[in-house]
């Protein structure tokens, strides 16, 4: 069996499953957030009754992260709906925006304090997919479903992880089960290692360009081969995150010492459930597609407007003039992303409006602590002209309300470390978004046109 089949067989209590079967699967963790949580709760109450209890209050993880730092009253209200539900159901893992222990009962963003300065309490966790592993909720061998398409990012941790809608999530809340069709697996056999100037984002943009952005629809994307060992967990997360950008149900990596170290540290730090059993690679596996990817040969890659499969090399796009650069999101706002970005920026100044949104409060803290030649990376970026916010969230990756930090409110051309570039994704529907690695986005911010970062490294 493939990794995905093994994960689903275990979770459905079967010896084996094969692609195409419809099976009921036991869910280990359900994730939801502020834009889909309230609707999920609505479905749960409508179907199971007003006094129903969730199937397991320790397995529901609620992370408000999408529309937080906005004056939009409905968005603020949605965080309050989550808080009320968490209280009613005694949900332990609710990462509230405010420290409601202080008696504060509702979240209201204060625009007079501006968008840059921290407005959250101590329990706030930031972008859910980056927060889940950081807070010790990713355990190899398990099944994670979430009301967000980028839930597939946790596949980096040798899990079956996929995005679902509110109705399915409402069902999971009540039963802990989900009806799934076992996807056929596409294998990507990684060899070699990434060359200077190349990042995991280039690898996944290369792969999506190869198979097309619906090239993995209904399928699992499994990564194997000697090249996997050269990828750290952040790299694997970046790659698994964008499985959905090829239409896949999930992306999945084997378990190794690198996974173990990351997971065990996060569990120890947070005191979350510590037992887990990874799934190992079988010698006999059936794939519907099998492709060797030579990491050595991958160059800085860009997905051009208007979809993530519209691939080109950065060096071919130097004619594309930019209005804005953006670094942030689950896939591109991790500490390692900002460090790579800062490495290219160095002591230079950005030439276009450049916005930085860390994925989690921990990223903010690390950037403010890590010091290069006497100044923090945070200060380095600020003095380069990057507009940095402490308010970690999804922010302009998906546009959001009009007052969202970094949102494209005009038909601008933007280069971004995020994961989607469909028309209107970052705001204005006539804007144009190019997706690239933090290196490429940094180099492009310095020149005002799409730039191969190897010119600066």
């Amino acid at each position: 069996m493939t990794l995905t089949e093994k994960l689903l067989a275990r979770a459905s209590g079967r010896k084996s499953v094969s692609a195409g079967e419809n099976i009921w699967v036991n869910v280990d963790t359900l994730l939801t957030h502020d834009v889909c949580g309230p609707g999920t709760i609505g479905v749960f109450k409508r179907e199971f009754g007003p006094n129903a209890k969730v199937w397991d209050n320790t397995r529901v993880v609620i992370i408000p992260d999408h529309y937080i730092f906005t004056a939009d009253s409905k968005s603020n209200r949605n965080v309050d709906i989550l808080r009320e539900f968490a209280r009613e159901q005694n949900i332990i893992y609710f990462y509230d925006v405010i420290d409601s222990v202080n008696g504060q009962q509702s979240w209201k963003f204060d625009p007079s304090k501006g968008l840059l300065q921290r407005q959250y309490g101590n329990s706030y966790a930031g972008v859910c997919h980056a927060a889940l592993p950081e807070k010790g909720h990713c355990r190899p061998g398990e099944v994670l479903v979430g009301t967000d398409s980028h839930t597939c990012m946790a596949g980096a941790f040798n899990m079956f992880a996929t995005g679902i809608g509110n109705t399915d999530a409402g069902f999971v809340l009540g039963t802990g089960k989900i009806l799934l069709k076992v996807p056929p697996t596409m294998r990507f056999w990684l060899e070699g290692q990434m060359q200077p100037g190349v990042m995991a984002k280039d690898v996944i943009l290369h792969i999506i360009g190869e198979i097309g952005f619906d090239g993995a629809t209904y399928r699992a994307m499994q990564y194997e081969g000697p090249g996997v060992a050269s990828l750290d967990m952040d790299d694997r997360m970046t790659i698994a995150n964008m499985a959905i950008e090829a239409g896949a149900k999930n992306g999945v990596f084997p378990f190794d010492e690198i996974t173990k170290k990351y997971v065990d540290e996060a569990i120890r730090r947070n005191g979350t459930r510590s037992e887990y059993t990874p799934v190992e690679l079988d010698t006999e596996q059936n794939f519907c597609y099998d492709k060797k990817i030579d990491l050595d040969k991958i160059e800085p890659t860009v997905a051009q407007h208007p979809d993530p499969g519209n691939r080109a090399l950065a060096k071919e796009l130097s004619h594309v003039k930019l209005d804005r650069a953006y670094i942030g999101s689950c896939t591109g706002g991790k500490t390692s992303d900002f460090l790579a970005f800062a490495k290219v920026i160095g002591k230079r100044k950005v030439k276009i409006d450049t916005y930085g949104v860390p994925a989690t409060p921990m990223v903010v803290k690390q950037l403010q602590t890590i010091s290069w030649e006497g100044i923090s990376v945070w200060e380095l970026l600020q003095s380069a002209g990057v507009i940095m916010t402490e308010n970690a969230s999804c922010a302009a990756c998906l546009g959001g309300p009009q007052d969202t930090f970094g949102r494209l409110n005009k038909p601008l051309t933007c280069i971004s470390t995020t994961n989607r570039n469909f028309p209107g994704r970052m705001g204005h529907k006539e804007s144009r978004v190019y997706l690239a690695s933090p290196y490429t986005v940094a180099a492009s911010a310095l020149t005002g046109r799409i730039t191969d970062p190897r010119e600066f490294l």
Binding site: V35, G165, L179, F213, G399, F422, G424
Partner: protein, 189 residues
């Protein structure tokens, strides 16, 4: 072997035609995700914004007219990979709330298709015919669920039978199906 047949009266009305790769941001722009679909007034509102993310430069005829909450088009005809992108259930819900009954696509993105079935908001038919190049917005079409066909302008086009998801659709969505299967208690508490 005969295919199971869905007992449902035909849908007749004008079609709204869009091309390939219409993602969920175009179906319901992210700025409206502050609306909660299970709150009735917000459900209505979602309908009024259905397909409002389509660039006017490509789709000058609006799907829902300014100031209206419902669309004039009960049938959406589209190309490949409809509903790609985010998992937001707001997408099929916005279409359903606007009054869409059937979508006819060459192919769907997985989560969107699944959400159509789970919510029962719209019927996601597939076809091998590239109808989005044949039909024009405003053409009158008839969807026949018994024979799995779309009829328009004197031509009859085959739609793919809904197959393995039909039991879920027939039951009326994932909850009704699970009750029927004995997965969850038959009545609400």
């Amino acid at each position: 072997m005969s295919q199971p047949v869905l007992q449902k009266p035909p849908v007749v009305g004008p079609v709204y035609v869009v091309k390939d790769n219409i993602d969920t941001d175009q179906i319901i722009p992210a700025e409206y995700l502050n609306l909660v679909p299970t709150i009735p007034e917000e459900y209505e509102k979602l309908g009024s914004y259905a397909l409002s993310g389509l660039p006017e430069s490509i789709y000058p005829v609006r799907f829902v007219k300014e100031g209206m909450t419902k669309t004039l088009y009960p049938i959406v005809v589209t190309g490949k990979n409809f509903g790609c992108g985010s998992s937001r259930e707001h997408a099929p819900i916005a279409l359903g709330a606007a009054g869409v009954e059937v979508i006819v696509a060459q192919s769907y993105a997985r989560i969107f298709f699944r959400n159509c079935i789970a919510t029962g908001e719209v019927f996601p038919y597939e076809t091998d015919v590239r109808l989005c190049d044949i039909l024009k917005t405003g053409d009158i079409a008839k969807i026949d669920f018994e024979n799995n066909t779309l009829e328009s302008g004197g031509c009859v086009y085959a739609l793919k039978p809904l197959g393995e998801v039909l039991p879920v659709i027939e039951a009326g969505g994932i909850f009704a199906y699970a009750r029927k299967m004995g997965m969850i208690p038959s009545a609400k508490q």
